[in-house]
């Protein structure tokens, strides 16, 4: 009897889906998940998602944090690209920086991971290679400044003058606009080489040795063929992750440039997009204009990352 009634009620609920019950089962299925996600998502919304949207909105306004934002359309973008010479310098510097520091750091960290993976003492090499990435850009800039010091006391100048004897006058590494960006790029590469490195090394460790043995039977002769036909395709997810991090990191270049060259740097020779953003946002408090710079930064890194995803997908 009990069975019968149960079936009956079950039938009833099938015919007439009780709203409360649907909600209840939906909640039973999803509720815990949402509850677990809630704290993170709340902060994520407030401090990441909404700010991106607000930045887009503010970029169309004139806003100084005291008066209400004043909608001015695309004027900020027009000024930025037509009249703001310093922004164009910053853009140029950032592009030069990213085009050199990004790829060089990326390739070096991959090569290092590839080589180190087959060496004895892998742990030691990994630590030694990764150590610069663990350091603070500011702290190490302070140290690097003693290498690049523009007088005879600078280690590099001393090396050039006294050891090699190639010049007699100290090179003004951190004062001559000709050299500043190069010094910043050099130090940044030193610091960022390790960034992708761990990801790559971990990816390499995941590839089973048997694959290489099988490939050797199939006629793959040398290490470089191995690299091209097996390792790289299998490491595609790690390579993509590393690429995105490298893009975001190099376009966000700021602290090393400021620590080495000051703000503003001589003739804006190490002025980056983020430096320009900081200048307009937190020194002049023209938030609308600064948001416009932020939007450009967003569009650049986001598009490039998406392009990367495409490229990696097509290689599959």
């Amino acid at each position: 009897m009990a069975d019968m009634t149960e079936i009956k009620t079950a039938n009833k609920s099938l015919l007439k889906p009780d709203r409360k019950k649907v909600m209840k089962s939906w909640w039973k299925k999803n509720g815990i998940g949402y509850l677990f996600l809630l704290p993170y998502m709340l902060l994520f919304l407030i401090f990441i998602v909404i700010p991106v949207a607000v930045a887009f909105f503010l970029s169309l306004t004139n806003y100084n944090m005291i008066q209400k934002p004043d909608f001015i359309g695309l004027t900020n973008f027009k000024i930025l690209f037509m009249d703001d010479d310093i922004f164009l310098i910053a853009l140029k510097n950032t592009l030069i920086f990213s085009c050199i520091a990004g790829p060089v750091g990326y390739i070096m960290s991959f090569l290092a991971a590839w080589v180190i993976n087959n060496l004895k003492g892998r742990k030691f090499f990994a630590l030694a290679f990764y150590a610069p990435s663990l350091t603070s850009g500011i702290a190490m800039s302070v140290v690097w400044l003693y290498f690049f010091s523009p007088d005879r006391f600078g280690l590099i100048n001393n090396f050039l003058i006294n050891t090699l004897g190639v010049t007699t006058e100290p090179v003004l590494w951190t004062q001559d606009p000709k050299y500043i960006l190069r010094v910043v790029i050099f130090i940044s590469i030193w610091m960022s080489m390790g960034n992708g490195f761990l990801v790559f090394l971990a990816g390499l460790q995941n590839i089973s040795k048997e694959l290489y043995e099988a490939a050797a039977i199939d006629g793959i002769r040398n290490r470089f063929q191995q690299l091209w036909y097996i390792t790289l395709p299998l490491m595609q997810p790690q390579l993509l992750f590393g690429a995105i991090n490298s893009i975001v990191g190099s376009f966000g270049a700021y602290d090393i440039a400021v620590a080495i060259a000051g703000m503003p740097s001589p003739e804006y020779s190490a002025h980056t997009i983020v430096a320009h953003l900081f200048d307009h946002a937190f020194i002049r408090f023209s938030m609308g204009y600064a948001s416009c710079i932020a939007v450009i930064l967003f569009v650049m890194t986001y598009t490039l990352s998406k392009v990367c995803m495409r490229v990696f997908r097509s290689r599959e």
């Binding site: 509720g31 815990i32 998940g33 677990f36 996600l37 993170y40 902060l43 994520f44 407030i46 401090f47 990441i48 700010p51 991106v52 607000v54 290092a112 080589v115 060496l119 090499f125 990994a126 030694a128 990764y130 150590a131 610069p132 663990l134 350091t135 603070s136 850009g137 500011i138 702290a139 190490m140 302070v142 140290v143 400044l145 010091s149 600078g154 280690l155 080489m193 390790g194 761990l198 990801v199 490491m235 595609q236 997810p237 790690q238 993509l240 992750f241 975001v248 966000g252 953003l277 900081f278 946002a281 938030m287 600064a290 948001s291 932020a294 930064l297 967003f298 998406k306 995803m309 990696f312």
Partner: protein
């Protein structure tokens, strides 16, 4: 001169060296060279931190220290004449904010990442897509609106301003989620059948399984926040609230006389991250193999 047999052996040996050893030796030499390059400023920093004043002014400048002394550290940590805020305050600020960020952000990311990977509530794919998108721009993009929120909350120049905006890290969430994906459902099901509550399952079953992942996040989160310069630059207005990197950038010039103190400060700033990483290196490697993005 040499007997044929011996000659033969000699060539064999030589060939072996050529085949295996020579390239290997070259490789090791190359890598050691590269290591020297990465270690050069670090070793200089350590040496200079222990240099007495007369060695700092040596000309031509010397790389290594000859008569190491603790005076630079002593001056930095105890003597505060000239500066209003003692250096230990910066260490405390950095240590406190970083520890709180690491703890909260790792717990939040674990809760969320685990839920997204294993509970898969409706809309999970969309949420993950948004988080993936958040990996594709730097925090500078959101700095202005975030500043407005912090300003609105009235917490500028407090520890909260340095902590709260940094808790929702897309990077952390992403790593945990990727790692949690490979946890077999069977473990969780077994616990469910035993009647454990979801929170208990998370704490007693999932967290131990996720341990390599969150240990890694402890390392990365610590390193990133410890070294962060931009956030305190925006949110702190008083000297007493500054963190180590910010304090270092304003410590008092880069004259040669300051080289010892600067290097000592740089060393104190660098050491914790390197120690932490060395201690947890194995777990980091274990986690990073799951970090890939499938395009």
């Amino acid at each position: 001169m040499v007997k044929v047999r011996k000659k033969h052996r000699y060539f064999n040996w030589k060939r072996k060296i050529k085949r295996i050893h020579f390239s290997t030796v070259l490789l090791y030499a190359c890598m050691l060279g590269l290591v020297a390059f990465t270690a050069l400023p670090l070793i200089y920093m350590i040496n200079t931190a222990f240099k007495p004043l007369d060695e700092l002014f040596l000309f031509p400048p010397r790389y290594f220290v000859k008569n190491p002394t603790m005076k630079n550290f002593h001056d930095l940590l105890t003597a505060v004449s000239g500066t209003v805020v003692p250096f230990s305050r910066y260490i405390f600020n950095s240590l406190f904010t970083t520890t709180v960020i690491v703890f909260l952000s790792v717990v939040l990311s674990c809760l969320g990442g685990f839920a997204l990977a294993k509970h898969k509530p409706a809309g999970s794919n969309f949420i993950f897509a948004v988080i993936l998108a958040a990996l594709m721009f730097s925090s500078h993009v959101t700095a202005i609106p975030t500043y407005m929120v912090v300003n609105f909350l009235g917490i500028v120049n407090t520890y909260w301003a340095l902590i709260i905006p940094k808790l929702a890290s897309a990077y952390n969430f992403f790593l945990i989620k990727q790692f949690a994906d490979q946890i077999p459902d069977a473990f969780l099901e077994a616990a469910r059948i035993d009647g454990a509550s979801e929170l208990k399952i998370f704490w007693k079953v999932a967290m131990p399984l996720l341990r390599p992942a969150w240990t890694t996040l402890v390392v990365f989160s610590f390193v990133n926040n410890w070294n962060d310069y931009f956030t305190p630059l925006i949110y702190t207005t008083s000297q007493a609230m500054k963190t180590l990197p910010l304090a270092l950038s304003t410590l008092g010039g880069t004259s040669i006389a300051r080289a010892g103190a600067n290097s000592a400060a740089a060393l104190l700033t660098t050491l914790p991250t390197i120690i932490l990483f060395t201690a947890l290196q194995g777990r980091v490697m274990e986690t990073m193999s799951y970090s890939g993005i499938k395009a």
